[in-house]
Symmetry: C2
Subunit: 345 residues, 2 copies
């Protein structure tokens, strides 16, 4: 047997609890007929369900820094980042495939920790590894394809927002951006900052909430916040042919004053700017007709929900400032191809 | 709109004929409900079919040389290499997702040509682009996930070969290896060598034959030849718990004498070594019980088929040389992680 086969076997062994076969997956009726090890995986789709498919790359020097970020965070985020696109449709993750390219020097302990992180994510997501490809490469590159299920015709798209719909987000926006800042400043190992760094290293996903919104048919549109509210909201609005009006005071922001004093004491973090433009929160952004307001109280994780504004017929994206004035919200989220972009590591 | 969105839109525009929506795909009953542009694609699986899934990366410096290989060959091969894994199951390709990472300087004409090549492959495969991800990166990296369909329970796995089964391959083995050699020697543009270079730049796939074998339930095992016969056959044998005995004279080899004289005249290409160890042919390797020999004459592309040996109960892989002696066949195909590997560019 050659060494690439051996590496694939090592990955398969490490991931064995997530390489199931011939058993129904979760509450799904879909069955994994044949998993890792042949030319392709074979899956038998469950009746009455549609499939959602998404791919995301996670690249050294772009999405993480090889010499800074812990390998288990890299493995965790590579999978969570992709699965977040399923949550954004209201789908439930079922299967994933991974192409992994790594330098020879990372095939030892680094790879083990990477797989530990990926397993942590796979456990959280209840998702199975069904295939992939492994190659040597000068930089680490992980590309994940995730496959989810949704009851036929219930997926929540970006294009359904209507004027008057309430705009919701989950969680605290800007938390991943703050974590990244702290890591860039060398505070990765500082104990009293772990709580603030965690959202950057181990973002959660909102699978349950997304699936609930789809099942109850409450949301008219939805997406996940990967590039920042100021970049992602215009995408949702464009797809729906609408605009939006946000209230800055309602946007869930970091409580900057609570960050421990110490190396960060002289920093002036702008909580609102981070909430508007910070990327990688993987929180959900969605719209709900006002008549469903009461039903929303039964949402899983209701306390993590915040109504931050309203959809408008006018196509502009406006922000109501704390002093009552209105300003146009400019996209300042992450874009690797834009010149003069904000640095994201 | 930001520039990454623009790049995605450019790819979508270029690929528009392969981004169909809400129409049955080919002869399939599966329907693409929602394609590129939302968080995930949504597909409605056809009744009575299983799905096959596979992912493959295509990396600069590993699978192609950025300054040597034509961009359209890169786009073509990136997709064909992945789809070959579907052919290897007897499945028919339906959908694919692409994560593409490229340096800024390749986002212009290079990307256009890359997409032209990918379209050529997509047309040949009758496959639709349903999602992906685009990022800036120092090296070109394309990761393709392909999804195919097969009538329920008819996929052809690696593990079904039985002693006495005939071993078949398609095409001429080693053709891609020769093409690579010629390209590495700087003959990419030489007109009278194009015919010999083509199998390296634009390998075909054997989708129709694979699907026919599955439909007729004639093959007991199958895989595609990506790393060379001497590496891939042991994989099939291991999965089946069997061995094999090949006849070297029956292995379809290049007719070296026909390569035009000129810059190559002093080369001594070893046709048998290339056929045994050359990678990237993407031909099919499969086994058929001897009782089906006659039925095989009705196979699509029957003339491209060759019976090269027989499956044995003894687990060794033996080669019957032209002088009648037997030798053990050693794996010398491509493996990026093996030390002292044969150079493949």
């Amino acid at each position: 047997m050659d060494s690439e086969d051996k590496l694939v076997e090592r990955i398969a062994r490490s991931m064995s609890e997530f390489i199931s076969s011939s058993k129904p997956i979760g509450r799904s009726s879909s069955i994994l007929e044949l998993g890792v090890g042949d030319d392709s995986a074979v899956v038998r789709p469950g009746a009455g369900h549609d499939w959602t498919l998404s791919s995301d790359a996670f690249l050294e020097g772009v999405h993480f820094l090889g010499d800074v970020h812990p390998a288990d965070s890299v493995g965790y985020k590579a999978l969570v980042r992709a699965a977040s696109d399923l949550a954004a449709m209201g789908a439930t993750p079922r299967f994933f495939l991974m192409t992994l390219a790594i330098p020879m020097i990372r095939t030892g302990a680094w790879l083990n920790r990477f797989l530990q992180g990926m397993k942590r994510a796979a456990r959280m997501l209840d998702i199975r590894l069904v295939g992939g490809d492994t190659t040597k490469f000068p930089l680490v590159m992980a590309s994940m394809t995730v496959i989810g299920e949704v009851a036929r015709g219930t997926e929540i798209r970006r294009g359904g927002a209507r004027p008057g719909d309430l705009i919701y987000v989950t969680g605290t926006l800007g938390a991943a951006e703050l974590g990244l800042e702290l890591v860039k400043q060398g505070h990765l190992r500082r104990k009293n900052l772990q709580k603030w760094i965690r959202p950057h290293l181990y973002p959660r996903t909102r699978i349950q909430l997304g699936a609930w919104l789809a099942r109850k048919r409450l949301a008219t549109s939805m997406m996940d916040l990967s590039d920042g509210l100021s970049t992602d909201l215009p995408r949702l609005c464009k797809a729906s042919g609408v605009g939006a009006r946000l209230r800055s005071k309602d946007i869930p922001q970091l409580d900057i004053a609570k960050i421990p004093r110490g190396p960060t004491r002289n920093q002036r973090f702008d909580a609102l700017a981070m909430a508007l433009h910070g990327g990688e929160d993987y929180e959900l952004l969605f719209t709900v007709p006002a008549r469903h307001l009461k039903k929303m109280q039964r949402a899983p994780g209701f306390r993590a929900l915040r109504a931050i504004g309203i959809i408008t017929a006018d196509r502009s994206i406006l922000l109501e400032n704390s002093d009552g004035t209105l300003s146009r919200l400019r996209s300042r989220g992450w874009d690797p191809f834009r010149k003069g972009r904000r640095k994201r590591g």
